[in-house]
Amino acid sequence: MRNLWALVALAVCIAAPCSTAGAQTTAPADLEQLKALVAKQAETIRDLQERLTKLEGSSAAVGAQVADGPPVPTMTLPGPTSRPPAAGQSGAASALPDIAVFGNNLGRMLTAKGEPSRSQFRISELELALQQRVADGVLFRSTLAAGEGADFAMGLEEGYVTFTRLGVPGLGGSLGKRRLPFGKLNSIHPHAAPYAETPSAHRYLADPDGVAGNGVALNWLLPVPSLFANLELGAVRVGASDAVVARPDVTGATLPLGFGATGTVPMGRLWLSRALNTATELEMGSSALAGKADSGDAVRLVGADVTLKQMVGAFSRWQVQGEALWHTRRDAGSGLSHTRSGAYVAALYAPDQYREFGLRYDDSRLPWPLEGGERLLSLIWSNRLTESSLWRLQLAHGDRTTDALLPSRRGLTELTLQFVWGAGSHSHPLQ
């Protein structure tokens, strides 16, 4: 055991001086090399750390762009020869046309006692509208309507195609049945008009339901610099109006109310417009229809319209609009011409996107040989619920000296309540 401890002590004694002696022997030369190596490695580490910091920083920046939100669009362009797909107005993944349904509910309050629609709030018209692009430059629109006047029998109110590529810049055309472009209101569907009651001049001298015709028309945007000048000419077949009134000079005979021509009717409208500044636009137009009545009388309807509108802000706007209509009937028997006229002027103001207030003055006579007319001042208040639904009140006061559409009464005050609702995608031609 003693020998063992002695051996260990010897080994330690030998080992210790040996290791110390070894270090002492290499120290002078290697120490400097070692120091240089450490310094170099430290420099390399610093360099790597700097590069790492930079990379981490840039990763963080990239992460801020990409990881925090959806992918950033790639910086590549679609091919230079690729063309956009021919898409419809909406719903690109559907082969169906745009379909919309509109209901126009009217309630006439305060009318004369005994008037059938007095104090009843009921649907006046239901419209089913379909539209779609059917080929390059060809769009079809159709409107099926069921109105109270025809006991809600569904009929084709409009069904036509428009062409935008007729080979001449600015030239377009239409083919089919549609509400004719006469003045500012005739081509507008009742649910889209800014009034609950159509102005007297249109109801008595044109047609209470709008003059519609089936035929062809060409539409040319005249190449006039800085001025919108649009000329539309066509020939259409016009059917008899649903609205008829008793003819006073022939016992038992009736006469269609309004324009009154049937058969082929040439039509024309010149529409001019100029932007006075970025917010204000002045429009003027003149329209004409001519044809023959069933009685053989030659009839002509001429109109002139002026509209001044100003878009004050994103939603607030005002508009002043006036139209005058002249109805001329040349009696086939006597050869004498008789002209009756009517007009309205309206001011509308929308303070925001939900409300619109209006004031309208109507003055119109009935076409010859009918007597009487209407002179009314109306206050209008519209409240929009959504893009396609609204309610509206129109309070009218004045004199009516005909029973053609509503009971005659002097000093009348009538209130019309309108509720329009709609569903589905739909757009209207500009008018």
Binding site: A64, Q65, P73, G137, L221, A314, Y354, A423, S427
Partner: protein, 302 residues
């Protein structure tokens, strides 16, 4: 004297032709954001004009005949699409210009290629408000989607002016780099705001909020396009107070009545920001508009 006159005429003709060469392509856009993006891409090879004014709400622009005249002479027509600028359809139809029809070579629907948000699933009806079947159309308020729009415009420019391809491509890349640089800046600014919840007036901000990691806590409109009601505002204000929502985010064109009422009831701040180039003096370009939005939002949140 004759020689001098001929020389003057030649100089004038040369100047005119140089001027024409500078802007041979006419670009019409539906809004001023697309107009500025188109200017960045087209440079001096095109003249660019917007149909809508900076102060307009893109949903509710009144289509006017003077717009038809502009579109009739356009080579490129760039629109937001997704039903937001549906009012332009009546203008396109009447323009008689084949190039800008949806199948024309100058037609650019700038939403093409977008991964849409808020796409309604199942049956939708008007009781849900004014929903867009194609999804939320306000993608241009995500600055990154400005690159998508620029790409679609550049492609249309190249279709109508193939000789300008290298020029348009280079400018498109430059614009994209500026947007990417801006994204870093805007992201860094919005990372520092204390609350991630905001209440917008309308569902205008889905893409913007998704981009910067913010959340839509509620919407001032009870349904898209439907006017707020006092009851809805009161309930929303109570909920905002419980969570500590600090910002009501509104487009500049909105009336202040409802945002101010919500702000007074909730203690939050109504931040009115430009959403169209030119709607505010500071927002004189698309990137400056994004800068202004981020600055005002961050300022209101702090």
């Amino acid at each position: 004297m004759r020689t001098r006159s001929a020389l003057l005429i030649a100089v004038a003709a040369a100047a005119l032709s140089l001027g024409r060469a500078g802007a041979d392509v006419t670009v019409i856009t539906t809004d001023t954001n697309l107009a500025d993006i188109a200017k960045q891409v087209a440079g001096d090879r095109a003249s660019v004009e917007s149909l809508a004014r900076p102060s307009d709400d893109p949903h509710h622009v009144v289509a006017r005949p003077s717009m038809i005249v502009k579109l009739a002479r356009a080579d490129v027509f760039a629109r937001i699409g997704m039903g937001l600028d549906m009012w332009a359809d009546a203008i396109i139809d009447r323009s008689g210009n084949a190039a800008v029809q949806p199948d024309g070579k100058g037609y650019a629907d700038c939403s093409r290629g977008l991964k849409a948000l808020d796409v309604p699933s199942g049956k939708i009806d008007p009781s849900m408000g004014d929903l867009h079947p194609e999804g939320n159309p306000h993608y241009l308020l995500d600055p990154a989607q400005g690159i998508l729009a620029a790409g679609n415009i550049a492609a249309a420019l190249i279709r109508v002016d193939p000789a300008g391809q290298p020029y348009y491509h280079a400018r498109f890349l430059q614009f994209g780099e500026r947007v990417k640089s801006g994204l870093q800046r805007w992201s860094a600014t919005l990372k520092g705001i204390p609350s991630r919840d905001v209440v917008p007036y309308h569902k205008t901000w889905a893409y913007f909020l998704a981009r910067f990691g913010l959340r839509e806590f509620g919407v001032l409109e009870p349904k898209p396009g439907v006017e707020p009601s006092p009851g809805h505002v009161s309930a929303l204000a109570q909920a905002m107070k419980q969570v500590g929502v600090r910002v009501i985010l509104c487009e500049l064109f909105r009336a202040k009545r409802w945002p101010d009422l919500l702000a007074s009831q909730s203690g939050a701040v109504a931040a009115f920001v430009p959403t169209s180039v030119g709607a505010d003096p500071q927002a004189d370009s698309y990137i400056a508009m994004c800068d202004t939005i981020v600055q005002r939002l961050a300022g209101a949140a702090r």
